[in-house]
């Protein structure tokens, strides 16, 4: 999945010569917290909500001095950016490692979008299949190719769509599991079919576990 698919287009930007009061107004009106600063289409800086909001306890006069400053004097520059054809994983790592919550998406020096940690988070939620109705099945998978083959065969014969497949190796035990979400209410039939092919399906048991 590429950044392009998850980013917000139609980004509102602001010019470096405008005041912090202007920037705060734009953010309040548009209900966002990050504002790329562009000089004649070229990205020159980044502003976040806390850069523009006057600190508490200022007098009216001090507030007016604070908010009257130009954006150029407080914006962050140079800017961390991603490209629209970077992978979503790249964007996630960039946000996480730099402890930032939004990054402009830039192609040929021009801002074409913005991606926030919440966009990335939502996309990952979608990838786990959390938002589609389905039956979640957890399988032990010491032989991953064989497991996937069996999963595919069962999906075909049961007319049960595969919504998502995730696989992970347990960080302590080293055991590999596969989590498949089948887009079907007929979970018990699918599970029975998986078992009949010798797969180890983790389901709740009436007796105590382990």
């Amino acid at each position: 999945m590429l950044v392009e698919a998850a980013m917000v287009r139609n980004v509102v930007t602001i010019e470096p010569g405008e005041s912090l009061a202007d920037a705060e107004g734009v953010m309040l009106r548009g209900r966002f917290r990050h504002l790329p600063v562009c000089d004649a289409d070229r990205l020159v800086g980044m502003l976040s909500e806390r850069d523009v909001r006057p600190p508490h306890g200022l007098t009216e006069e001090q507030r007016s001095i604070f908010s009257g400053r130009s954006i150029r004097s407080v914006m962050r520059s140079p800017v961390i950016t991603v490209a629209p054809d970077d992978t979503l994983e790249d964007a996630a790592r960039l946000l996480y490692e730099n402890k930032i919550s939004a990054v402009p998406v830039v192609r040929d020096g021009r801002v074409v979008g913005i991606i926030t940690s919440s966009d990335v988070f939502h996309t990952y939620m979608r990838i786990t299949g959390l938002v589609d109705p389905g039956t979640r099945v957890e399988l032990g998978a010491e032989n991953l190719p064989a497991t996937l083959e069996a999963v595919a065969a069962v999906a075909r014969e049961q007319h049960a769509a595969i919504t998502t497949i995730l696989t992970e190796r347990h960080p302590q035990t080293g055991h590999r599991t596969v989590i498949v979400r089948f887009g079907t209410i007929r979970g018990p039939q699918v599970i029975a079919a998986l078992r009949s092919r010798g797969l180890e399906v983790h389901t709740p048991e009436p007796v105590a576990e382990g």
């Binding site: 009061a21 389905g134 039956t135 979640r136 007319h159 887009g183 209410i185 018990p188 709740p204 048991e205």
Partner: protein, 611 residues
């Protein structure tokens, strides 16, 4: 309890909702139920009617489904081959495959639940049961989990639109009631409660305790995911620990309960271990709560149930017997057993109410019970404790502080010279989506379609208050919007801007005045300052024979009825037209500092905070 008037919704055509011989949802389950009720005399009695419902009209289906989806169902019902369309709308091979006649069969079921709900709301009957209904997985534009049209969402939406009613929906099916929850997720007029087996191992995977609703409706979706292998005692304890408190707080006008019985221990589609006794107990509680809190208005439907002969007929006969106060025999009629035995998936039961032994011994029982108890405790805390609920609330003057607990929107019926209209405030997006805008209502948007889109956008933000007047048929004929002030008014808490529009066909009937009065009726309005800008180029002077100055006087007079006065200002937008005017309503309890700031900003040469 004396026997109450009860409608049994039945049509021989219910059997046509049939996905084919290999499919787990068997139409025989309904026939076996009907036969059992007939043989036990449960449908006799002067207080009982058997009602044959009409199919739902397309306009009624549109209350819960998109036009494109209905069109797809219709096309695929003729046997048309259209793989891509079928897949797109959830009607491909798999759970809910298209079949010939599907549209008619599903429309009849929706008509059944709708007919039942209307009969109850009109007072023609007190209770009603539609065993074919309960298709709770159908979504707005997607069939899912054996459900094509969501009869429950159609019926509830119709009740909410046609009456000043709050509806409690309770879902006992083993699967999460995701379709109904989604239909009313932003609407505090409908409280949805679903008890189900946890989605960890079961379709549809949703229904966690933190799915609470959205916007002004946070706290109006309640989910109780129970552990696999839960037995009667723990299930009943969960129901009894939550339902009375929720009903008491919500004070519904109608209770709708879905009695999917696939949580029964013999049902192969899930892992709960219930018996028919659990459903009988849940029905008794619903019956009691309906009489205690909503004058007995109670609608029940069927739902999931995949032991077509051994479980479904008995579970639903018990629901009906509770509703209609019929006494069923302890032992099943022998003639019934022999008739239906060939369709059974195992040895036939002999008793109506199962003995607890049939659910077997579960070694993990104490752990399961503890797990469920802690889930219920968590739900109680989220749903019933005001502090915690507020943590999930978006903030803003229209939300927590100005509203008491459970801030459902208000509703009223007003008689005008052009007929009766329903008034509602704090309309959520889903409600607006189900209605249409009257022709000519486009002063702010220049087309009816864009007007509807604009209203949806306004409705979806919890900081706004959208007040509408609509007909019982769902036509919006007037609206007042209240939104936080913009431009020079930006950032002032408790300062709102009002705008009003009345459809051309409804002008001159006193509706504008009625709508404004209704809007500013609540006490919290006195804590706000509300402005209204009269900008002459928005005015629809055509056909009024008025010039802008006369119209201006009319507007001032109209807003004066709701306490607005004219305030002079240097706002360039107001100054740009001679007839323009700024009106404001300063609430009697508006804070002094708010008034001072408002007064200061009336005269500001520059547009923003004025540096």
């Amino acid at each position: 309890m004396a026997a109450c008037r009860s409608d049994f919704i039945w049509s021989p055509q219910f059997r046509t909702y049939d996905f084919g011989a290999e499919h787990p949802m068997r139409p025989e389950r309904l026939l076996a139920l009907h036969d059992l009720l007939r043989r036990t005399g449960a449908l006799d009695g002067s207080h009982v009617r058997t009602v044959m419902p009409p199919a739902a009209a397309e306009s009624e289906l549109l209350l819960a489904h998109s036009e494109a989806y209905i069109e797809a169902v219709r096309r695929l019902s003729t046997g048309a081959e259209d793989r891509i369309r079928a897949e797109m709308f959830g009607l491909g091979e798999g759970d809910t495959p298209a079949f010939a006649g599907m549209h008619d069969a599903a429309t009849l079921i929706a008509g059944g639940t709708l007919t039942a709900a209307r009969a109850i709301m009109r007072g023609e009957t007190l209770h009603a049961f539609n065993p074919a209904g309960g298709l709770h997985h159908a979504h707005r534009a997607r069939a899912s989990g054996f459900c094509v049209y969501n009869d429950l969402a159609v019926a509830i939406a119709a009740v909410v639109q046609e009456h000043e009613a709050k509806v409690l929906y309770v879902d006992f099916d083993v699967h999460h009631g995701d379709g109904v929850q989604a239909a009313f997720y932003d609407d505090p007029r409908v409280l949805t409660v679903s008890l189900h087996e946890t989605g960890r191992y079961l379709f549809p995977g949703t229904g966690g305790v933190t799915e609470l609703g959205t916007g002004a409706a946070i706290g109006y979706s309640i989910n109780v995911p129970l552990a696999a292998f839960t037995q009667d005692e723990s299930w009943i304890a969960s129901v009894e620990s939550l339902m009375p408190a929720l009903v008491e707080r919500f004070q519904p006008d109608l209770i709708v309960s879905q009695f999917g019985c696939d949580g029964h221990t013999w049902d192969g589609q899930a892992h709960l271990r219930l018996t028919t006794a659990a459903y009988a107990r849940a029905a008794a509680l619903m019956h009691e709560l309906a009489h205690e809190h909503c004058s007995g208005r109670w609608l029940a439907t069927g739902g999931g149930g995949y032991e077509p002969v051994r479980v479904v007929p008995r579970a639903w006969a018990l629901v009906w017997a509770e509703m209609a106060s019929v006494t069923l025999p302890e032992a099943l009629p022998v003639s019934w057993i022999t008739t239906w035995e060939p369709h059974a998936y195992g040895p036939m039961p002999e008793r109506m109410v199962d003995l607890p032994e049939i659910s077997g011994t579960i070694p993990r029982r104490p752990m399961i019970e503890q797990e469920n108890a802690s889930t219920v405790a968590r739900v109680r805390e989220l749903a019933l404790s005001p502090q915690l609920r507020q943590a999930y609330r978006p903030s803003g003057p229209w939300t927590p502080s100005t509203f008491p607990w459970l801030p459902t929107g208000r509703a009223a019926v007003a008689e005008t010279a052009k007929g009766a209209v329903h008034l509602r405030d704090r309309c959520p997006r889903s409600l607006i989506e189900r209605m249409h805008v009257a022709e000519g209502m486009q002063a702010f948007s220049r087309s009816a379609e864009r007007e509807a889109a604009m209203l949806r956008r306004i409705a979806e933000r919890p900081e706004n208050n959208l007040v509408i007047a609509h007909t019982a048929e769902g036509e919006i004929v007037g609206e007042v919007t209240l939104a936080p002030g913009e431009g020079r008014w930006l950032g002032l808490d408790s300062l709102y801007e009002a705008a009003i529009e009345i459809a051309p066909g409804w002008r001159g009937a006193g509706l504008a005045e009625t709508l404004l009065r209704f809007t500013f009726e609540p006490e919290f309005a006195e804590r706000l300052i509300v402005i209204a800008q009269g900008i002459s180029w928005h005015w629809d002077l055509e056909g009024t024979g008025m010039d802008a100055w006369t119209y201006r006087e009319q507007i001032i007079k109209l807003f004066a009825t709701a306490g607005f006065e004219v305030f002079p200002t240097d706002d360039p937008e107001i100054l740009s037209g001679e007839a323009n005017v700024l009106l404001a309503r300063v609430g009697k309890e508006a804070p002094h500092d708010l008034y001072d700031e408002f007064y200061r900003r009336l005269h500001r040469q520059s547009d923003w905070i004025g540096f």
